[in-house]
Point group: C2
Chain length 347, copies 2
């Protein structure tokens, strides 16, 4: 029981009380519930975010096991007080909470996927409190190399609603947009209008971590105090120049450039990161070319953690793509849009 109390305390400690005025205006509670963290949003009318809470309880890091009520415990810590005050508020979540290891499985819908189709396929789970949480499904693209996403579909749809881009109306028509989401499993989606047509997954971030932490390449590395953009871009250039030989052939140079005194220990992590991101972008460039497209044949949007997105912008510029725009708040925009489309809140 002491574990429960400390969990409850930790939950309380991570966020203060919400102002009564905000609670009175609220029309929706939404969650971005991933593998390693949980974020809760209190929305007012027209999708205005009134309050945001971040908790460490991702699907793989629950305060207790799922079988012991871990999902309910995390859920209560995130929004129990909101629901005490406003028990009728509708609830929606996206992310790994809808995976086979999540609270309830929200089955993938096939591409092409838009807000309508996602909203029509929400899964539901009844919480211990007796309210219903709606869960956005992931998206599956079938084929020789099937692809799946879960959580990113909501971010991608949200990015297409960025009002700072509404002037160009690119997204309103049936125009193509290329949307990149760097990360452990980087996604690149081809969006037509506001519909996800197809996408690719590059396991760049997770492969980098595995190579750095579990192969000989990590043994000679030292982490620099600040990221080394020059070493990073050197890696991008090498990968681009040797893209045909492939990643398995280039990564050993992280070690051999060190052995021959051409790459300091502190430069090796950023160089390897540049190699991998360079191979990712080389691959993407060829996938685009195979459909007659190029970097400059459509707008390019980036969604993700700021430092990583900046790194991708540097690498993209090396590939001749200097028009990539960063989109903020894509997740909350997407959650609001799907909730609206599903009739959980008024448009």
């Amino acid at each position: 029981m002491s574990e429960v109390s400390s969990v409850a305390l930790a939950g309380d400690a991570s966020h203060g009380q919400t102002a009564p005025g905000d609670l009175a205006q609220a029309v929706l509670i939404a969650f971005d519930w991933g593998t390693s963290s949980l974020r809760a949003y209190l929305f007012g009318a027209q999708g205005k975010v009134l309050s945001i809470r971040s908790l460490p309880w991702g699907v793989m890091k629950l305060p207790r096991s799922a079988g012991e009520g871990g999902f309910d415990l995390a859920f209560e810590a995130a929004c129990g007080d909101w629901l005490d005050a406003r028990p009728e508020l509708p609830l929606i979540a996206c992310g790994m909470v809808g995976s086979a290891q999540g609270w309830v499985e929200a089955r993938y819908i096939d591409t092409p996927a838009d807000a309508n189709r996602l909203a029509a396929s929400l899964a539901e789970v009844r919480t211990a409190r007796g309210v219903t949480l709606h869960i956005v499904p992931g998206v599956l693209e079938r084929g020789t190399l099937p692809n799946v996403m879960r959580g990113e579909e909501t971010q991608i749809l949200g990015a297409m609603l960025d009002e700072s881009r509404s002037a160009d109306k690119a997204h309103a028509a049936n125009q193509t947009t290329l949307v990149g989401l760097p990360g452990s499993h980087a996604k690149w989606a081809i969006v037509e209008g506001r519909r996800i047509e197809r996408f690719h997954t590059f396991m760049t971030g997770e492969t980098f971590a595995a190579l750095r932490d579990h192969t000989i390449l990590g043994r000679t590395m030292r982490t620099p105090e600040t990221p080394d953009s020059e070493a990073f871009l050197r890696g991008v250039a090498v990968a681009r120049g040797a893209s045909e030989a492939g990643m398995l052939a280039t990564i050993f140079s992280t070690r051999t450039l060190g052995l021959t005194g051409q790459l300091a220990a502190e430069q090796q992590p950023d160089y390897l990161s540049g190699l991998l991101i360079g191979h990712e972008l080389s691959g993407l460039e060829k996938l685009l070319a195979a459909t007659g497209a190029s970097w400059n044949s459509q707008p390019v949007l980036l969604i993700g953690e700021q430092a990583l997105v900046e790194r991708y912008r540097l690498a993209l510029a090396h590939f001749g793509c200097s028009h990539a725009q960063t989109v903020a708040n894509a997740t909350e925009r997407g959650l609001w849009q799907i909730a609206t489309q599903a009739g959980l809140v008024a448009a």
Copy 2:
């Protein structure tokens, strides 16, 4: 002290006494001393192998630390009795024992490298017993993507001496041979006559282990009782077909084919192995093409552990290369040749 005794016992236990007749005929003791194991050969005249001993004491697995005499301890366990009987026998070693972490550093020689140049650059270390061990240097190829090998140079030269191939005399002339050494860091060398001109390193084996053991891909895998050649070749075919998108784009299919019921848990390890080896061979194919060569423009030799070499032969056949020949005993042939060239034994 008890540790020393148990070490000595373990050493004794791994090999019996050598016949006095063999000891009388012996002309050379040679070692293949790698990262994780040590093999000792007793040679008679004309390079006849009289006795072989395998010990678990690689450079990174010494019975004691190097500073505490670990190299001498392993050396004595491997050949102390041989030297008691024949203290004048010359001694030569190849492999990581000559690395910066080895017994003494045998500096790399630059490509092109042949037996003459290797023999002229042997390093020496004086053992506690007072005899001199000669160590073969590694080979370095400079360039944007420098490459190094240590141990493989001896195997490659040995492979060119395989008498089962002497009929075609391919190696005797200045003809090109492609020599592959699958493994953690697979090497592919372009040999002109008996001279290593250039080579490539693909970190295939180590990357496979890192992906299987330290990424999400391993979570859904089960190791099959026997290797699944069909799943392996499926991976090879997918990698070959999607070689332009690159490895980072194809490996996620190990998971998504599982999620969509198209690849059983037991098939996933061999499928991933096929993907990686397929990307290696695609990259090599393009490197060959860049110099006007192809699989069929020269003999192809493979050196390595039998099951792994068989796997590569399957994959090579998928690429239209069905003439790859497996070479056995390359290491001992190479050690003998370099010792001869160095004048340690009579030719």
